[in-house]
Each structure stands twice: as C-alpha cells, then as structure tokens.
C-alpha cells in the first residue's frame, strides 16, 4: 500500500490555521494527503482523515509515513462528499447540540455512498456484481441462459471485469 507517488507529500506540514475566535487554543494541524482512484489529490486534516478506516490502518502500519494515501476504491466525487461529511462529523462531536439539529446529514451520506456503489456496478457484468456483493447464483444453467437470451441487448457493452 505504501508506494511512492509523484505528488508532493505534506503530512508534516505545520501551517497554522487562522485563529478561530471561540476556540481556546489553535493547535498546529497535521495534514494528510489522500489520492482518489482517478488521481485527484485531497489534503485533509489528520483528525478528518482518521475517520477513514483505511487511512487509520495505513498509519497504524507505518506511523511515521509521509506518503500520500492511495484510495483505489473511490473516485474524486464521492470522496470529496465523504470528506465534507467527516468534517461536519468532527464539528458535531465537539458540539452535540448542533449535531442534534443536523442529524439528517447521515442520511445524505448514505445517499452519496449508495449512488457511488451504483455508479461502480452500472456497467459491470452479472458475475462481477455477484462477487461484489457476495451473492451465490441460485439459478440453474438453463434458467440463467433463458434469462440472458430474453434480454440479450442488456448484456451488450458491459465493461471487462
């Protein structure tokens, strides 16, 4: 997982954020760089990045790594939405009253994730989708062949697995 990348690594950067009026201490924030499967770079605060299990385990494996964390399972669009969600999550954890008011956010996130999954399987073969969801094929060979024959056009132009 930890391969060198062509993008600059910024994990140890200690740029101070502009002081917030109602936060008691403005800590220097560690930043982590994430890379989506379509090679978009996202620079996020450590606390936000640690909301991602993949990122967390990456740093548990190599705590002092300064590499960009590759996220080969997600494209830029859903990733940016998930990052926004994690930022909100952290704010809400710090201020639960506000969190109560905005509980609906988690439903938005589910929409984003479900759509991202749909985008991923949209052009995939039946075999790929079975593997993706861990579903066993319960059709007999004859039943499956008949179904495929009935709507042969729907099996055209499918991505290679």
């Amino acid at each position: 997982m930890s391969s060198s990348t062509d993008s600059p690594t910024l994990t140890t950067e200690t740029t101070q954020l502009s002081p917030q009026p109602d936060t008691e201490t403005a800590q220097p924030t560690k930043k982590i760089t994430l890379k989506s499967s379509d090679n978009q770079i996202f620079e996020v605060e450590e606390a936000v990045a640690m909301e991602f299990a993949t990122v967390k385990s990456f740093f548990e494996d190599s705590p002092s790594s300064t590499d960009t964390v590759p996220l080969p399972n997600v494209t830029a669009k859903p990733l940016s939405q998930v990052i926004e969600f994690c930022k909100e999550q952290i704010k809400f954890k710090a201020n639960p009253d506000e969190a109560q008011k905005k509980k609906y956010h988690s439903e938005d996130l589910l929409d984003v994730l479900n759509q991202a999954v749909a985008d991923r399987i949209e052009n995939k073969s039946v075999e790929y989708v079975r593997g993706f969801f861990g579903i066993d094929n319960d059709f007999t060979a004859e039943e499956e062949a008949a179904l495929r024959q009935e709507h042969a056009w729907a099996y055209e132009g499918v991505d290679e697995d």
């Binding site: 399987i121 039946v126 079975r130 969801f133 094929n137 495929r148 709507h151 099996y155 499918v158």
Partner: protein
C-alpha cells in the same frame, strides 16, 4: 443473500439505469423478483424523477421505421458518442404501409403511446427502456376527419395507466371535443366517458401529463384569432375535463412540455416577435407562479416554423431542426451557442419526438 442489509441493496439498485437492472435480474432469484416488483419499479421511478445527480430523461425520436433515444443531457455536456441510441423496431408496431408516419400520442412514466399506421386508431404502448410493447385494441368511436386528441396518464387511485382519446370536430361553426373514451392498461379495454366541450380549439393533440392531469394548449373562440390563451385539462382519476389552468400570458404559437417536476411552455407572444420565451411553473393552477426562464432570439436557432417538441435541459433548450430532418438543436443561453445533433433517420421530414423518463414500468 448478501452481506449488506436488504434495504441498502434496494436503495443502491434504485440509482441504476434500466439497462443495468434488466441485466442484473440474472444475479440471483431474489434480485429477479425484487427488480420486477411493482413497489421497486415505483421507487426506481421516483428516484429517476427526483434524483438531482442522475439523468433519466430521454427524447424519443420516431422516424418510422427508425426509432432513436436521445440522452439530451449527455449531448449538452458534449458526450455525442453516447447521446444517440438507435432502438430496435417495437414488436407491437404494425409495419403495414410504406408511407406510415409514426406519431407519439402520449408519454407518462417511461411509457409512450404511438400511432404508426394509416388508421388513427392503430396504436401501441411501448416502454423504450425495457423494449416491451403492446398493441392496443381499437376504441369504439368513429373518428371525425378533423382529428382527435389523446393523452397518456397515471391514475394513482387505482394504480393504473390510462390512455384518453376524444374526437375534435366542428358543429354549427363551433369547435367541439366529442366522444371521449378511456383505455385502462389493467383491463386492456376501452370505455366511454362523459364530456362534450364546445368553443375551444386545441393546439397539438398529445396531452402532457402533470400533477395527475392531462394538459393541452387551446384557443377559446371568444379570444383573438391567433391567441393560445388556455391550458385545457382532464383529471385522469376522475376522468373529467376540468377548468382551465392559467397561462402566464397569451401566446401566438406555443408548445407545452415537462421538465423534471415542472410544466413548461415555449412560445412567441406576438407574431412579429424576434425571440421566443420559455416559461416554467411548479405550482398547480397559480398564474403568478409562472417564471420566465429564457428569451431566445430566433436568429440563434434554425427554425422555419415552430417545433412540435421542445424541452428544457439543465443547460438550455432542446428542439427539432426543421430545415434538416433528423437533426436536433441544443441552445445554451450562457454560451449563446447552438449545437446540432444528428439522429439517424430516413431523410423523411415526417417524424415526431417526445420526452420520456427511463423506467421499468411494465405493460404486462
């Protein structure tokens, strides 16, 4: 059947286009029954209409015997390769006459009604997304030469689709709508309904389904000669012709259309106007809720006479190009540019088009 909870699977599948879902029926038996379940079909349709990030609106172009589906949002985003798809000839269509002209008589929830023979009563229903089609029995009334109005709508009270047909005729110097009949999909039969209307001429005969009712543009005989001044409507559940829905203004020529959840009207206010206007409303029957979206100068468009079908895309306006059969034009008001898009056709200027929403709705 999977590690994911069922409701998550259902939700994911509602985001998929129809072609993927037809293919994924083959994943396993539970998926096959889920994707065919009418409740799932409704959830999927709801997502298609309400989803902000997905694009399920298509333009059906019927240039007998060639039928094409145009993804006009993809086209306006510059993806010409995937924008136009030729459809196989619908199995229920009667390919009888060499001069047959296909006319789209209604569009609702992904179903379209098409007349493609010489006989005005020779019609079929078609879901171009699933490719299912069904020939309709003939209605009982004898049709007058003047023409007839039609419309396809959904009756939520009985969960069924209805096709409405009525004769347009002239009696004692006055225009009349006569002998209305309704076809219901589940019963597969026609029956007469009540209602005769005088003193109104209708513009364009295929009604637009919106908010549980069918809508046609019309002219009142009491109005000025060239005024399109009313929207005539029929409540699909009650099967009754209703009062008039107010227009934002009088038009000299106009077409009615649907964009997402809104009703749109495109037209010219005066014959000597050099631009046409696109108006939109999301509130039923409230004159002040109409908003003007665009005013587009005619010299930006290729127009000899008025298009029969226009629709609002996210970026602008899509319409037929009458000087060049089988060509569509997309006007982008922000860039003030018109883009042309070719649809395969037999160079016959006689073709028709209608907007439909991709759906799994079955004719079975």
């Amino acid at each position: 059947m999977s590690k994911l909870p069922q409701d998550i699977i259902v939700d994911i599948l509602t985001y998929l286009p129809v072609k993927s879902l037809v293919r994924l029926r083959c994943v396993c038996k539970p998926w096959q029954s889920l994707i065919s379940d009418p409740r799932f079909v409704k959830l999927h349709l709801k997502r298609a209409i309400e989803g902000n990030n997905i694009n399920r609106q298509r333009l059906l172009v019927a240039a007998e015997p060639l039928y094409s589906s145009v993804d006009f949002e993809a086209a306006s985003d510059g993806d010409d390769v995937n924008a136009v798809m030729e459809l196989p000839y619908p199995s229920a269509a009667s390919r009888t006459e060499s001069f047959a002209f296909a006319s789209i008589r209604g569009s609702c929830d992904g179903l379209v009604c098409i007349r493609n023979g010489g006989d005005v009563h020779d019609m079929f229903l078609w879901n171009p997304s699933t490719r299912e089609s069904k020939k309709l029995p003939k209605p009982s009334s004898s049709v007058q030469k003047d023409g007839f109005l039609t419309g396809l709508g959904y009756d939520s009270t009985i969960d069924d689709y209805k096709l409405v047909i009525a004769c347009l005729t002239t009696a004692n110097g006055s225009h009349q709508i006569m002998a209305p009949e309704v076809f219901t999909l589940k019963t597969n039969s026609w029956r007469r309904i009540q209602g005769i209307h005088s003193g109104i001429t209708l513009e364009g005969c295929a009604g637009v389904f919106w908010n549980g009712a069918l809508h046609w543009l019309g002219k009142q005989e009491t109005g000025a000669d060239h005024d399109v001044d009313v929207i005539f409507s029929l409540d699909v559940a009650q099967e009754k012709f209703m009062g008039f829905v107010p227009l934002p203004s009088h038009f000299c020529t106009a077409v009615l259309s649907i964009s997402g959840n809104c009703l749109c009207i495109f037209g010219k206010l005066h014959p000597d106007e050099s631009y046409f206007e696109a108006w939109i409303t999301s509130e039923y029957g409230v004159k002040t809720s109409w908003r003007r979206r665009y005013a587009i100068p005619f010299d930006r468009l290729y127009m000899d006479y008025f298009s029969t079908e226009m629709c609002l895309t996210k970026k602008g306006v899509l319409m037929d190009h009458h000087g060049c059969p089988g060509t569509l034009q997309l006007y982008d008001p922000v860039e003030d540019a018109t883009k042309l898009l070719s649809v395969k056709n037999n160079r016959d200027p006689m073709y028709d088009s209608a907007v439909y929403t991709e759906s799994l709705v079955s004719l079975g």
